[in-house]
């Protein structure tokens, strides 16, 4: 089925380790986003990308790295994981919508625990 696929669904890691979260879309949406969801903070933007090889920082980029060599993939890397990065991570892509103007499509999320 077409859509956004995130992997892994769950991940447990230790502080200091490098972790990569994968995101793949089967459409060809130009814009893709990474958000983290934490209780009391809602969804906060980490990084986003306007197209292949074009990325930009969001609200909370520190400790994260992204790349986008192909339009369909947008991986997020935690270079040296910290406990404060324990969160649920959502990838999304955006499409223009005649009815509502634009629409974000979210993956099912990756629940990351840093011990």
């Amino acid at each position: 089925d077409a859509g956004i696929t995130q992997s892994p669904r769950y991940k447990i890691t230790e502080t200091g380790r490098q972790v990569t979260l994968m995101c793949h879309q089967t459409w060809s949406h130009s814009y893709m986003f990474w958000y983290r969801q934490d209780l009391g903070h809602g969804l906060r933007l980490i990084y986003y990308s306007a197209a292949a090889d074009i990325t930009d920082k969001g609200e909370v980029p520190d400790g994260y790295v992204v790349s986008r060599s192909k339009t369909e993939n947008f991986p997020l890397t935690l270079e040296s994981a910290t406990r404060s990065q324990t969160s649920v991570y959502f990838c999304a892509s955006k499409r223009k919508d005649r009815r509502v103007g634009e629409k974000l499509f979210f993956g099912s999320g990756t629940q990351l625990s840093v011990l």
């Binding site: 956004i4 814009y31 986003f33 958000y35 009391g40 903070h41 809602g42 969804l43 906060r44 933007l45 986003y48 306007a50 969001g58 609200e59 959502f90 999304a92 955006k94 919508d97 509502v100 103007g101 634009e102 629409k103 974000l104 979210f106 993956g107 099912s108 999320g109």
Partner: protein
């Protein structure tokens, strides 16, 4: 600093009642205000959206009310049903900004 402030954090409503969730913003450059709905274990999904050229938008049981002068907007769910139990996020985006800023979320529970 939270650019979009959402309240309440949690809300319990009886079946058939009206659920109301409020959001406030400071940035007058915002010109697009969507609401997203999230069920447990799933990503958020677009529910309804409004632009500031109208004061209200209705889709079925869901209505957005927008007050530009007060910089506030709210989601009203009429005849609330147990299936509406979810987390709701308001959001805002500035013209040309291409990225949404989300509120803190409201966990809505509809009691049968």
């Amino acid at each position: 600093q939270q650019q979009v402030k959402q309240s309440p954090q949690s809300l319990i409503v009886q079946k058939g009642g009206i659920s109301i969730i409020n959001c406030a913003y400071e940035n007058t450059a915002f010109d697009y205000f969507p609401w997203y709905q999230q069920f447990p274990g799933k990503g958020p999904a677009l529910l309804i959206a409004i632009r500031p050229d109208v004061s209200e938008k209705k889709e079925g049981r869901f209505t957005i009310s927008f007050n530009k002068s007060a910089k506030q907007f709210s989601l009203h769910i009429m005849d609330s049903q147990p299936g509406d139990s979810a987390t709701y996020f308001c959001a805002a985006e500035g013209r040309g900004a291409q990225k949404l800023v989300f509120g803190q979320g409201t966990r809505l529970t509809i009691n049968p």
